[in-house]
């Protein structure tokens, strides 16, 4: 069993350390709702950190605290596009400044693994440190790695995902028709453990990432988990025909599209997992107009990119 001991997430909703936030979701997702970073990050370091690093270090530190864990036995991050702010800044300098030395800070913070690397520094953590980057499936691949690691050894793993918005993304998204919902940022970390604790919030039952999926992918996944229908489905909801099909296939289950709630970024399924964990801890709740009564199992279906499917099955702790 894989237990979720804590979940810390920063997004365009008021998600960070706000238990029960799923009852107060906003339709206005124009701004990133940030905590006071000084509580989690050495103030002298904040200034040099891009948003994706600030969000990640704050969430990683908060997740460990909330799980009552001192140090992580592994840090595993997923990111679709990595540290875009620093990448763009350095690329801009490379192209526009001819001759002379360029300031190196944005280069050294541009690599995808700066997120997990900065966490290892902030937490003085010498254990396994990994970064998965497979566009919309980056988070699911990071989670599978964490589960594999818990099969190998007992411990507490800090697993999560982060992606940040920068302005130059907008014309690219417009060109490729990925602008139906606002482009946003989000990051979050979860403490996963093979042992139940007083902090346990939910159970991570199964994860699948598949790059060339067919229409049976959800059915097959539920079957391997001996489940015919989950009590709740959270799905990207990017394409109406997809959403319609899901609602047809699972007519008894509330299906909540999450992209309208968090905006578009490669690892938004981590937001959905955070949301699912919150919902599963409530008795009865309303989310986006759906009443959710019996909720012991939640399935996150991520089909943000056509043909790519990420599935995350969460069960409530008592289920």
């Amino acid at each position: 069993m894989y237990y979720i001991q804590s979940s810390a997430y920063i997004s365009h909703q008021d998600t960070f350390r706000k238990k029960g936030f799923s009852k107060n979701l906003s339709e206005n997702i124009s701004t990133l709702i940030k905590p006071d970073y000084k509580e989690f990050i050495n103030p002298s370091l904040i200034r040099r950190m891009s948003e994706v690093l600030r969000m990640s270090v704050a969430c990683g530190s908060a997740a460990l605290k909330d799980a009552g864990v001192i140090t992580a036995d592994a840090i595993i991050a997923g990111t679709g596009l990595g540290c875009l702010m620093d990448t763009e800044k350095f690329l801009n300098n490379v192209i526009t400044i001819q001759g002379g030395m360029l300031p190196p800070t944005s280069f050294i913070q541009s690599t995808h693994n700066t997120i997990a690397g900065q966490l290892s520094l902030a937490l003085s953590c010498h254990s396994y440190n990994m970064t998965h980057t497979q566009n919309s499936l980056s988070f699911e691949y990071a989670l599978s790695d964490a589960m594999l690691m818990l099969d190998e050894q007992s411990g507490n793993i800090l697993a999560g995902a982060a992606d940040e918005y920068i302005d130059p993304l907008q014309p690219v998204a417009n060109h490729f028709g990925l602008n139906r919902f606002p482009l946003t940022s989000g990051a979050g970390f979860f403490v996963l453990s093979d042992k139940v604790s007083a902090h346990t919030q939910a159970v991570l039952a199964d994860v699948l990432a598949i790059n060339d999926s067919d229409e049976n992918v959800c059915k097959d996944f539920l079957q391997r988990n001996q489940l015919s229908v989950p009590d709740l489905i959270l799905t990207d909801g990017y394409r109406d025909d997809n959403l319609r099909q899901l609602r047809q296939n699972f007519s008894e289950t509330p299906v909540i599209p999450y992209t309208p709630l968090c905006g578009t970024y490669a690892t938004s399924s981590a937001f959905a997992m955070h949301l699912a964990i919150d919902i599963l801890q409530e008795k009865t709740t309303h989310v986006s107009g759906s009443e959710i009564k019996q909720h012991r199992t939640a399935l996150v279906i991520n089909q943000l990119l056509p043909g790519h499917t990420g599935l995350i099955l969460i069960k409530n702790h008592e289920a």
């Binding site: 990595g82 280069f107 913070q109 598949i210 790059n211």
Partner: protein, 392 residues
């Protein structure tokens, strides 16, 4: 469950396949030269691959859809590694790629158009994300399902091989194509120059007067299989991937700790995992970038592990340049070659012993009994990975 290496492919500045790479190593012929690349304004010492994007497209019959050079180099390496492998029912095949900059070679062109206010060619930026690099390669060979990419700077490909081994050991797949690729880009060249660790002359790994690295480009991929897969494919094992470990230095975003903490941990845990005795490690393919900081920290870590009995070691980066994400896979291929041909591989440009650690690298290609090889790959963010390959 054992993890067998059954295939390998490589493209680097010292050759477009395994045989060419081996003969360059044997002849001590470096791929680093003083050159003016189109992606960078100055003449620099670098190790470019001898084939253009169009050459690669033609040679490997790549479809006319947008492909980064990163993917094209990867396709060249996988074509050789995959060889006559076929998709077989019951053999679950996965792909784990790695890259540090993804399609940056094309993004640079796109962003230049954007900054110049010209109408931009969006097909150039379509290959930017690192995941795209792997999907393009995997799809070229009909590999579907589990296609993943790791990006941990200069240890990326070693991590791809490690993840593949872990997945095989836990029966998550039967056959995995794993490795990495990176192209030369203006972004990375200017980046290492900005850190003042880009040598304006030939790099000199493990030399007292070393003054930085030279960048190279390339790709390497290995085919790893479990017993079940081998009995179905009939592939002949070259050696075993026997030990692996990743550890964080947690010291500085780019510099390595003086005591080599992360490197020591990675080597120690990989050796423990492999069950190989220290005395059975016949050769170490070091990370050895040629920077002041890496080579000292790595030498100290070697002393932490092996004390006074450090096995023959060298860095082959003076041949290939530092190929960043690809380095771990390129050097894995060299480690397998060391076992298959029972040879020690030389370093180049070594003259003066390092005063602090007084270690002498191997400088000649020479035959020797090789039982097991340790390969080190260390990256930004203090990401340290060690792999142990062993003779069957």
């Amino acid at each position: 469950m054992s993890v067998f290496v059954t295939g390998m492919g490589i493209i680097s500045a010292i050759g477009n396949n395994v045989a060419e790479n081996l003969s360059s190593l044997q002849e001590r012929k470096s791929g680093i030269r003083k050159t003016k690349l189109t992606c960078h304004p100055q003449e620099i010492f670098a190790a470019p691959v001898n084939l253009s994007d169009d050459d690669l497209r033609n040679r490997f019959q790549v479809s006319n859809t947008p492909h980064s050079r990163t993917s094209l180099l990867g396709i060249a390496a996988v074509a050789e590694a995959w060889g006559h492998n076929k998709h077989l029912p019951g053999v679950r095949t996965a792909f784990i790629g790695s890259t540090s900059v993804g399609g940056m070679d094309k993004t640079e062109k796109y962003y230049r158009q954007v900054l110049e206010g010209n109408s931009a060619d969006f097909s150039l930026v379509q290959t930017h994300d690192s995941g795209n690099t792997s999907e393009k390669i995997a799809h070229h060979f009909g590999i579907k399902g589990y296609i993943n990419t790791l990006s941990t700077a200069c240890s990326s490909a070693a991590n791809a091989l490690m993840l593949a081994a872990r997945m095989l050991e836990h029966d998550h797949a039967d056959r995995i194509v794993a490795g990495g690729s990176d192209p030369l880009t203006g972004f990375t060249i200017s980046g290492f120059q900005s850190l003042m660790i880009y040598d304006e002359d030939w790099c000199k790994p493990f030399d007292e007067n070393r003054n930085g690295l030279n960048l190279g480009e390339g790709a390497a991929y290995l085919v790893l299989e479990n017993e079940k897969s081998i009995s179905a494919t009939g592939n002949k094992p070259l050696c075993l991937l026997k030990g692996w470990s990743n550890a964080a230095d947690a010291y500085h975003q780019t510099a390595s700790s003086p005591e080599g903490k992360g490197a020591t941990l990675a080597m120690k845990n990989a050796i423990e995992k492999s069950g190989v005795a220290l005395s059975d490690i016949s050769y170490i393919n070091a990370h050895g970038t040629g920077t002041k900081n890496n080579d000292l920290s790595e030498s100290t870590a070697l002393q932490n592990i092996f004390g006074k009995n450090i096995p023959p070691f060298s860095s082959t980066k003076a041949f290939t340049g530092h190929t960043l994400a690809a380095a771990g896979a390129i050097e894995a291929v060299y480690s397998v070659l060391s076992i298959v041909h029972q040879v020690l591989l030389p370093g180049l440009n070594y003259k003066t012993i390092m005063s602090e650690t007084r270690l002498t690298p191997v400088t000649e290609y020479k035959h020797c009994d090789v039982n097991a090889v340790l390969s080190n790959s260390f990256g930004f963010g203090g990401n340290n990975t060690s792999l142990i390959f062993k003779k069957i």
